[in-house]
Subunit: 339 residues, 2 copies
Amino acid sequence: MTLRWGIVTAGRISHDFVNAFNSYPDKEDQEIVAVAARNKSRAADFAKTHGIPKVFDSYEAMAKSNDIDVAYIGSLNSEHYELSILFLENGKHVLCEKPFCLNAKQTRSVISLAKKKKLFVMEAVWTRFSPAYADLEKDIKNGKLGDIKFIEADFGIVSPDDRSTHIKEYGGGAILDVGVYVLQLPQFVWKEDPKRITTVGSLYDSGVDLTETIILEYEGGKRAVLNIHTQQEFWNKATIYGTKGHVTLEQPFQFPHIVIDIDGSTKNYPLHSSKLPYNFTNSPGLVYQALEVGRCIRAGLIESPRMTHDESMGLALLEDIIRKQLGVHFDADDKEYPW
Amino acid sequence: MTLRWGIVTAGRISHDFVNAFNSYPDKEDQEIVAVAARNKSRAADFAKTHGIPKVFDSYEAMAKSNDIDVAYIGSLNSEHYELSILFLENGKHVLCEKPFCLNAKQTRSVISLAKKKKLFVMEAVWTRFSPAYADLEKDIKNGKLGDIKFIEADFGIVSPDDRSTHIKEYGGGAILDVGVYVLQLPQFVWKEDPKRITTVGSLYDSGVDLTETIILEYEGGKRAVLNIHTQQEFWNKATIYGTKGHVTLEQPFQFPHIVIDIDGSTKNYPLHSSKLPYNFTNSPGLVYQALEVGRCIRAGLIESPRMTHDESMGLALLEDIIRKQLGVHFDADDKEYPW
C-alpha cells in the first residue's frame, strides 16, 4: 500500500524536499499527495509547481484528514514542536526538519507522544542517509582509520538579515540553524556523549547566536572542534583524524558528493538529476531520508536505527547547553510540555 | 664584506638550515664558516657533511672567537635563552630557533640585551619570509579578501615518545614545539593582540602539553581557532576567511608551496633543489630568513620589520598564558633574568 506524504508549509526547504523526492527514479511505493500552508494561494502554487493533487489551507485540516499517512514538517523552527504534536495527536507519522524542536524539553515531549501513539517520528538529519556516510560508517567499524581521536567540522553561511536565522521569535540562531550538522558528526562517529563542552561565540542584536566555536571533549582524549557561522561563508568541510590517517568529507560535508579518502584518493557520490532548481546545496540527497522513513514505517518501527530518538535528545541537550553558555534564552525554555 | 655564520649545535634543524642555505644559488655575500657542538665528533661530522671549514668543541669558544658575525641557534628549547645571551654578550648577532625562549621573561631579557648591545636578534619564524606569505600580506593590504573575521590553522605531528617534544627539562610541549606556527598566523594577519584566550588541551605524563585547541578572540568579533597536536598527524593547512572569500595555505601552511586563492585557483611557490635530504617538510624555505638576517644586519637594524621583537614578545606572552591555562609550569617560570 502506498505511503502518502503530506507536506507542511510551502517554504524553501519543502520545495527542495519535494523536488528531490519527485525527481528520484524509485520512490519505493511512496507518494506526495498533499500540501498545507497558512497562505492558501502559496500552497496552491506549490501544489501546481510540484504536481501535488491536494491542497489544505490549514495544518489542522490536513492533520485530521484521512488523505495522508506521514507529515513532512518544513516550517519555521518555532513551529516544529506544535506541528509535530498536532500531526502525532491525529495519528500521523512525522518527519520534522532540524532542529527537531527549540530545546530538549520540547524534543522529549514529541518523542514521548510518538511512543505513546506508536507512531514514527524522526528529526530530518538527512546527512545520516548519505551514501558517503554509509561508507564512512563501514570504514570506522572495520578500523580503516585506526582510533579516531580528533574531528573538525565547519559550517558557515551568510544568512541575510531578514532571514529567520536571525529572528529570535522564529527560533533563530546559528546553533539551531546549522549546529545540528556539526554536532551530529562526532555523535555519528563516537556514539557517545561528550564529557565537557566549551563554547566561544557571539550574539546578534536580536539576542540569538551568530557564531560559535564549540569544543567537545570525550573520554580517552577524543576531541571535536566545530565552527559555525551565520555571516561568513566557510569552506564547509569535515575531517576525521584517526591514528591510521584522515578522511575529509568535502564541502558540503552535511551531504558530501566528494570524499578524500585515507589514501588521498577521491571518492565520488553522484546525486540524481532533478526537474527543478534547488534552494540549498546538494538537496537531491533529501530523498534518502524519505525512503528511510518509508522503510521504517513499513517495518513497524517508531524510530530509525540510523537517527534514533536518543540521538535527537543528545543533540537537543547539547544545543541547550551551548545556548546557555552563550546566554541565548528562548521563552520556550521556561515552559513545561505535556507529554 | 661577507657575513659569517656560526652554527650552534649539529642537530636535525641545524642540518636543514645549513643544507637550505648552502643549496641556495645566491647567498648575498653570506657564508657558513663554523659549527659548534658539545660532542666534538658530531660537530666534525656535521662540518664534513656540509663543507664547513671550522669546528668548535664548545659554544663558549665560538662565541668568543672572531671567526663569526652571527650565530644560528638550533639547540634544544631549554638552551635557547642561555645560548642567545652567550652570543649576544660576546658581540654576535643571533638568529634563534623558535620558540625564542621558554617564556616571556626570558624573551624580554634576550631582546633587552640585544638592544643594549645594539646587536640583531630574531626568532627564527621562517614562515614570515615565505614568498606565499608575502603575497598574502599584499592581498590583505589591498582588500582582496575583504574584512578578515576568521582564521583556522592546524598543526599536528606524531612526535616519537623519546623526542624532546615530550621532555619537560628540554622545554617540550605542543605549544612550544609547534604552537608558534599557528599563533603567528593571526598575529601576521591582524597585527594586534587577542582580547580573550580560551584553551582546551591535554597533558603528557611528563607534565608538558600534548594537544591544544586555542581560541583567540579579537576586537570586532574576529576569531582564530588553532589546533595543535603532537601525537596525531593533521592536515596542516590554514584558511583565512574574509568577507570577500577565503584563501587556504595548503599543507604545510608554515611554509606553503601551494596556496588555494580566493577564486579557487592554485598558486605555486616552488622551492629550490638541494644537495642533501631534509629532516623536516619544505626546509629549503629556511634560507629566506637567513637572507633577511643578512639584509637587516647590513642595514644596521637590530630587528627585522617582518618579525619584530614586539611580535616575539607577543608570541611568548600567549605561550605563557596557554601553558598557564593548561597547568604546564617550567622551573624557568620561577626565575628572574638579568637584562
